[in-house]
């Protein structure tokens, strides 16, 4: 699995997201309270850019009239038709096994640790790294 620098940590503050292109792939990286999650930036339904969606929590109802809210900030809602995706897995809420968007392994590190030979961006500070 190859590692690719996608962004600087300071480019994606907590609660924010950034759409990047890595090796021709559009990937959106979300920072959820210091944890990073990467999804393919295209909804599997009709291709809406998930990077334009709102990030919400999970509202569920065990039975009619009884609601619970959990996992604030961990679900993205497609900007087009509103399908919801779990940022941790890329799986849709309404049919997780059938409809999902690719999820990428994201880590944070600095360039020295990764023994990079050449890099176009400044090597100061920490980077968000996508594993492809």
């Amino acid at each position: 699995m190859a590692k690719h620098i996608a962004a600087k940590v300071m480019d994606i503050p907590p609660g924010e997201r950034l759409s990047v292109e890595v090796q021709g792939r559009k990937i959106v990286i979300f920072n959820v309270a210091g944890e990073y999650f990467g999804l393919r930036d295209a909804c599997p339904h009709m291709g809406g850019l998930l990077s334009e969606g709102v990030v919400i929590g999970l509202v569920e109802a065990d039975r009619p009239g009884c609601y619970s809210y959990s996992r604030g900030g961990e679900i993205v809602r497609c900007p087009w038709h509103g399908w919801e995706f779990d940022l941790r897995t890329g799986k849709s809420r309404f049919d997780p096994n059938r409809w999902k968007t690719h999820s990428y392994d994201i880590e944070v590190g600095d360039v020295q640790q990764l023994e990079v030979e050449t890099v176009d961006v400044t090597t100061e500070g920490e980077f968000v790294i996508v594993n492809l």
Binding site: A2, A6, S19, E21, Q23, V28, G47, G48, E52, P79
Partner: protein
Amino acid sequence: MSVETIGKASATMPANQKLVIADCDIHPSPKSVEKEIFPFLEKRWRDHYQTYGMLLRQPYQAGPAYPKGQPDAARRDAYGPNGEKPGSDLEFMRKHHLDRYNIELGVLNPLKSGQGLQNPDFAAAYCKAINDWQIAEWTSKEARLKGSVCLPYEDAILSAKEIERRAGDPNFIQAFMLIRTSEPLGNRRYWPIFNACVEANLPLAVHAFGFGGTPVTGGGWPSYYTEDMVGHSQSAQSLVTSMVMEGVFERWPELKLIIVEAGFAWAPALSWRLDRIWAQNREELLHVKRPPSEYMADHIWYTTQPFEEPDRRGHLKDIFEWIGWEKLLFATDYPHWDFDDPTRIPLPRATDEQKQSFFIDNARSLYGV
């Protein structure tokens, strides 16, 4: 390990795009009613707007009867670069929509256009202003866009006047109203509209939603927006049934009806049911000379957004064939949230000619442009 530089991803035109597209349902909005619509309203109605607002014929007066699936019922990415309301900025619409999808013909269907207002004179004045505004802000600036003659449809005489006023004006290619009327549309009180459409050689487009004052389903007021959304196909079926049974198509053999945004897969089943019941009760309806399915086949076009999405797209093949590829019109509903992308709808397997007719030629020949 390789290292990539940071690159911002952007929406690009799909590489496999070959067809040119007719989008038969685009919703333009004024950036501001005061700035863009007031110039076309008499002072009396500007004052009325500011004093009384736009009172609709519906029981829930504060906004739409049901909250929408997204704010402004819009795609979240449809706001302009400076936060302009979705569908309100021509330059942004060109880039974000017309150019991106190779749209050669875009049909403007303004909502919040004065249709369904309780005050019939205000409805007529506001519709007329919206029609003037379509020319001033849209069709005179962008040749790909064509306007719709918005009708104050609960008053058929005033509607017919508005159609006559716009007859022969190349800025307009259809008359336009909403599907939820106060009474089923075949009712004689609406007949002057059909007569005017035929005289002006304009198809009549009937779009989902509306403010008839009656519940949005045949079984009363439902609780949820999702029920409101599927209710449009019920409304469309009542409308089609009424127009056939009241003899509208018998009376105006040239009338062309376009059902906009209310589904289409229901049409075959409705026609089979109507044919059967009609045959069993012919005495009741002596003026309905032919089987209902024939009137439907001859007179009705359907825009396809929001597209039907069966698990197997093969299921749609029969439906397309029954309705006829030449009667189905592609539409996106831009900038609304239930937008259809022409490259991603689950179109049944089709020949190149069928695709060409569906995406562009049907609209060209229906509208004569």
